[in-house]
């Protein structure tokens, strides 16, 4: 694996668009399957936050908690998703920040419109994915989403970004 090629821009872009489509279609288990076995998923609460350990985060899931998050999204008693939200995500401005053997840190812009119960919300931010090559395709080793309004007064966040 260490001799595998780093994902190039086109491959990274296809992957991120696939990820966004899985989320738009509420295929959360398929989305989870994109992550490595020890992945983490992070949405900081502060601009330029340096660590999820010394500062609170809107979301900070290690692999174990990420599995629980996805399982909860299917729970019939998840009141905050009655009725469920729908979302439309646009991924753009994809660039490769760092490339190594079989891996790359990919930067992109996310624009997500979320709709639920006659209310629409707009989220925008910068995503960074560390993508690593596995036998059957790319996986997400970690994902960080920096929302432009991360430190604003926000209502509950249910759908993954």
């Amino acid at each position: 694996m260490s001799h595998a090629a780093a994902p190039d821009l086109a491959e990274a872009e296809r992957f991120l668009q696939h990820e966004a489509r899985l989320l738009d279609e509420a295929r959360f288990e398929d989305w989870l399957a994109l992550f490595t076995a020890d992945a983490w998923y992070w949405v900081p609460s502060q601009p330029d936050q340096t660590s999820p350990r010394d500062t609170v985060s809107l979301i900070y899931d290690d692999r174990r908690l990420l599995e629980t998050r996805v399982r909860r999204l299917r729970n019939p008693h998840l009141h905050a998703q009655q009725p469920p939200a729908r979302a439309s995500r646009i991924v753009a401005n994809v660039t490769i920040d760092e490339a190594q053997a079989g891996a790359a840190v990919v930067r992109s812009k996310l624009l997500m419109v979320e709709y639920r119960r006659n209310r629409q919300r707009l989220f925008a931010g910068t995503c960074r994915h560390r993508l690593v090559r596995a036998a059957d395709g790319l996986r997400i080793a970690w994902k960080r989403v920096d929302l432009v309004d991360c430190d604003a007064e926000l209502e509950g966040l249910l759908l993954p970004f």
Partner: protein, 447 residues
Amino acid sequence: MTTDVPTIAAAAAPEDLVRPGRVHRSLYSDPRIFALEMERIYGRAWIYVGHESQVPNPGDYVATRIGLRPLLMVRHRDGSVRVLHNQCAHRGAMVVADEQGHASEFRCCYHGWTYHTDGRLKTAPLLHGYPPGFDPADPKLAMLPVARQADYRGFVFASLAADGPGLLEFLGPMTASFDDMVDRAPDGAIEVAGGVFKHAYDGNWKLYLENLCDAAHPIFVHQSSIEAAGAQSDNVPTDGSGEIAIRQMRQNGAPYSFWESQVGIWAYPNGHSYLGDYHDDAKLVAALADPVFRDYTEALEAKRGRERARQILEVRRWNSNIYPNLSFMSQFQQLRVVHPIAPQRTVVYTYNFRLKGAPEAMFERTIAFANIVNGTGSLVLTDDLETYGRIGAGITSAGAEWLQIGRGWASDVDNGDGGRRGKNSTSEIYIRNMFDAWLGYMTDARP
């Protein structure tokens, strides 16, 4: 049909809205009630405005508020903490727009009126041609200090009323909860750290504290996270934060028998209360076998001695509520402040404290716990926020004019120290107690 239900037209008289074991729905939605609450509760009670550690050095300031009024907590050059109205005496503009920072003086953006860090007017341009009686030295031409200000062990409170009980009298036996927050620090001091959560909902401000000691809600409100955490394999990798979160979610699924046998609720004058004996240190996150907790206990014992450390850790107050809008808990150093925005709009700011002298790993647990309990994207809080919103959506219906707060009403007991307690934690005594205070404030017609 005869009824004693007041009509909405009559609903603005507070004494008509609170009855034994029930309250009228309009006090969660009527703008006239909200306006009166801002005047008679938030305009008179002691309101928490910040912790002194947020402004460690002269010139440090942090924006804060009481009700709808923007305030500034600032460390003056003499080292004292001052609480000022964040408003220019000239044209009423908010002077300081940043949430926090450092300044040697405050200058209004509009015409440059400039103030010392204790709020006194330092200078202003064109101070001529004013009518008789205008005097730049008038102490009222200032970023005015709040009417009263006091602190208890670094927790700073302000009151917008010149008269009223002192802070210690107001807090009463609840001072022990603040002691518990501070005493757990090996160095005997705590500091605000680790960022702030700010979450919002379309519902009344009172709903928040009414939920925090509600032992009967988790099994329903949090069913989705209880079940999701219950089904989670413990063999999946975690860096520790997920483990803490999942343990807390599972704990929320404790059966009624647990709440009815192991947990109590205490209520004190002025609307304050606490839920106690919930987490015992041997079985929750601060598990005795946990190396982080062991290191922390050793640090506490080294500074305080073994016997004093044992006494400190024996205090098992869970959520302590200071009416009308403060709640905190010592085990994970969390503090929440509820800000009313409108009758059906509320924002809540939550803070973390670092225990000075404790291993840094203890603070990492504080952060992980904050994420799951107070996080805007948490698997737990999001269902609470949904519930407040559902109440907001439902409460304007006239179907249920009177809302029930009577659970445990027949079994409240005198605690012998000026307070009362419920038979067990499922009693709504703490909500009835808040409405006793509410009625006291709201029917006090003094100017």
